[in-house]
Assembly symmetry: C2
Amino acid sequence: MPLLDFRTLAAAYFLVGPELSHADPVVPILIASIFITLGAALGGLLMKWLKQPAVLGELLVGLAAGNLGYYFGDATLTVLREGDNLSRIASLALTGPYNLSEATLQVLPPSPHTDLLAKLLSGPQGQTYMSVYAFIDVISRLAILVLLFLVGLEISLVEMKRVGKYASYVAILGIVLPMILGMAVMKLLHPGSPLAADLFIGGILTATSVGITARVLRDLGRDTTEEARIILGAAVIDDVLCLIVLAVVSGLAVTGKISLASIAITTGKAALFLVASLGVGVWLTPKIVRRLASAGVHNLKLLFGVSFALLLAWLANVAELATIVGAFAAGMVLNSFFDKEVGGTSLHELLTPIESLVVPLFFVWMGIQVKLETMASKDVIIAGLALTLVAIVGKVAAGWGCPPTMNRLAVGFGMMPRGEVGLIFAGIGKAVGVVNEGLFSAVVLLVMVTTVLAPVLLRATLGANPQAHPRSGSVA
Amino acid sequence: MPLLDFRTLAAAYFLVGPELSHADPVVPILIASIFITLGAALGGLLMKWLKQPAVLGELLVGLAAGNLGYYFGDATLTVLREGDNLSRIASLALTGPYNLSEATLQVLPPSPHTDLLAKLLSGPQGQTYMSVYAFIDVISRLAILVLLFLVGLEISLVEMKRVGKYASYVAILGIVLPMILGMAVMKLLHPGSPLAADLFIGGILTATSVGITARVLRDLGRDTTEEARIILGAAVIDDVLCLIVLAVVSGLAVTGKISLASIAITTGKAALFLVASLGVGVWLTPKIVRRLASAGVHNLKLLFGVSFALLLAWLANVAELATIVGAFAAGMVLNSFFDKEVGGTSLHELLTPIESLVVPLFFVWMGIQVKLETMASKDVIIAGLALTLVAIVGKVAAGWGCPPTMNRLAVGFGMMPRGEVGLIFAGIGKAVGVVNEGLFSAVVLLVMVTTVLAPVLLRATLGANPQAHPRSGSVA
C-alpha cells in the first residue's frame, strides 16, 4: 500500500465533490456578513468623529465600497451592486432554458459591462454570488421592517391622532408641491415631452421613504418628539396618496385615460387595511395577548411581537401598501398595552440587539447599490440636480403644514428622502416607456442626494438629544 | 372619459406587472417565518406540559407538519421538505440549460413524486418556494452557529482542559465501539456486502451531532456542568476523528487503498485550526478587544462577538471541520475575558433574544425534512432498528470513558444524536456507491430516532436544574 498517494485523494475528492469536507454553503454568507458588519462599524465610527448620525456613515461606506470595488474590478462587488438585476437574472435562469450567463445577456442591455457580468455569473462563483445576494437582500428587507416596528413601538395611537391633522396637511402639501414643481422642471428641460412623462416624473417626486428618517431620529434620540410623529404619520398618509398618484399616472401613461375604478379600489384597500389594523387591532390584540399570557407561553413577548409585526407587514402588502407601513402600524398597536400586559424585559430592549446587527446592514447594502457611473453625463447631472432641487424644496415647503410652534424645517427635511419608493415608481415608468434611461439615472441621483442629505440636515436642525442614549446603529 | 374602466386597470396591471403594487418579495418569507415560529411555540408549549425539553416539541411539530402536509398534498410543504434536493435542483437550473422543472427531472430519480415536484416547481409559485427554502436554510444554519457560540461562551478553556483527558476517552470509545458494532450488524444482516460498505456504515455510526445536545443542555439549565463540558469536548474531538475515518473509508471505497497522505492532511488542517484558534486566539483576541474598546467603538460587544464567531466558523470550514466547531471555539476563547474587558450588558444576554427567535426555527426545519415515507419497508425498518440499537449502545458505552463519579449515562446519551453529520456521511457513501437506497433510508431512521430520543433520555438522566432559568427555546 503506497504511503503517499495524492492521486487517490484527488480521485476521492473529485468523485464525492465538496461534500467530503462538509463545506458549509453558509460560509460565503458568513464572509459577506463579516465585511458588511465591519464596514458599518467603520462608517459609524467615522460619523461619531464628525458628529453625524451613524446611518450616514453606513450609506457612504456602502457607496464607496460598491463604486471603488467596481472601479478596481472586484468581482464580488461588481456583481452584488447589480441588486435587483440579479433577482431578474436568477428568475429567468430558473424559469427559462438559460443558465445564469445566458439569462444575464437576455435581461440586461448589450454592453461590455453586461458581458463581464455574464462571464462572472457563469464562473465558479456564480451561484455563490446569487446566494449571498439573496440572503443579504432578504435580511435587509427584514431589517427595515424591524426598524419601523421599533419606531412604531415608541408612538401611541392617541399621540398620533393628536397630530393627525397636521400630518395630513404635511402629506398633502408634500404630494401637491413636488408634483407641480416636478412637472414645471420637465416643461423647462424637455418642453416637448408628453404630459404622461411629466406627470410620471412629478409622481416620482411625491414619494417619501421614511426608513432613513426613522433611523436618523433614532440615532439622534428624537423619535418620541412631536415632529417625529408628524413625519411618520405624514409618511403613512403619503404612502397611500402616492399609491393613488401612481395608479392615476400609470393608467394614463398606458391607456391615456384615468381609471376611477382603479383609484377607488386602491384607496379602498389601503383604507380597509388601516382601519382594520389600527381599529380592530387595538380592540382585539390585547384580548389575544392576555389569553396567551395566562396560558403561560413563556417567550411570548418576543414571539408575539415579531409575529404580529410580520403579520401586519404581510397584510399591508396584500392591501398594496408598503410592508413598512404594516410593521409601523403593528408597533403603534402594541405601544399602548403590550409591555403593561406582559411582564419582563420590554419588547424594545429585546429587539435592540437584533436591530443593531441587521439595520446597519440595510443601509450599507443600499449604499453598495448606488452606481455613480450611471450619472456620468452632463444631461443626467443637469436634470438630476434640477429635480433634486425641486424635490427638496417641495418637501421642505410641505413642513409649513405644521403650526409655527414646531420645527417645520425638521419636518420638511424628514419628508425629503425618496429612497426605494422613488426608485420603484421610476422603474414602473421605465417599464411603461415614459421614463427613458437618462431620466431614470437623474431619478437615481435625486434619490441618492435626498437620502444622503437627510441625515446631515436633520442633525443640523434637530440636534442630538443629550439625554437619550442612541439605540440604533452599529456605532453611536 | 369612462368612469369604471376595468380593462384599463387590467392593461396597466398586465403591462407593469406586480411591481405596480410594490409587492415585496419578502412577503412569502414573512409568512413562512410566522408559521414556523408559531409551530415552534406550540411544540414548546406541549413539551412544557409533558415536562420535556422544548427542542423535542420543535422537532416533532416539524416532523408532523412536513409529513402530514405531504400526506394531505400541501404544495408548499411537499416542496420544502425536499431540503437539500432543492439546492441541487436550483444549482442545475442556474448553471445548465434547464428550467426548475427540467432540472428536477434531471436531479431526482424518475417517480410520480418527482413528476409532482417538477410540476409544482414549474408553477407560478416555483421561485417563491426556492426563495423561502434558501432563506430558511441559511437562517437555520446561522442559528446553529449562534447556539454553539452561546454554549462555548459558558465554558472556559481552563475548565475544558481539566476534562480534556476524559473527553478524549469518551471520543475515542465513541468512535471505536460504534464502528465495530456497526460492522458486526452489517455482517449479520448482509453477510455478502463488501468490506468498504461495512466500513462506511460503521463510519456513519461514529458521527456525533452536538447541536441537539447543546440545545437540550441549555433547555435544562445544565450547560455549565462537568458532564456538559465532557460532551462538548468529546464532540469536538469526535468531529476531527470522524473526518479522518471519513477520509479513510471513502478513499478505500473509491480506490481500494488507504491514503496516508489524505489522513495526514486532514489531521494537520484540523490540528492547525484548533491550535491557532484556541492558542493564538486566547493570546491575541484580548489585545485587539482592549484596543477597540479604548477607540470607543460603541456596540463593540455584539459586533465583535458575532463577527468573531462567524470568522472562526469560516476558518473551521477552511480546515474542513464543521462550522459549529469554529463557533464553539470562538465562544470558549471569549469566555475568559470578554465580558470583563467590555462593560455593559453581557454578550450572553444580548444574544439571547436572537437565539430564541432563530434557534427553534432550526429544529422545526430539521423536523420538516424527515421523510417518514422513505422508511415504509420491512428491510429498511429491520436494518434501521438494528443500526439504531448499536448506535445507541456504542455511544452510551463510550460514556464509561468518564470517571465513575460522573453521570456516565448522561454523557453517553449526550453523544448519541447523529443529526446532519451522519446524513452527510451517508450521502457521501451514496455518492461513491457503497450505500444503497435501502441502507440510506435505514441511516435516516437511525438519525431520526437518536435525535428524537436524546432530549427525552437526557431529561430523564440529568433532570432540569431548578435554579437555572431556561434560556433557550421558544417556550420554556
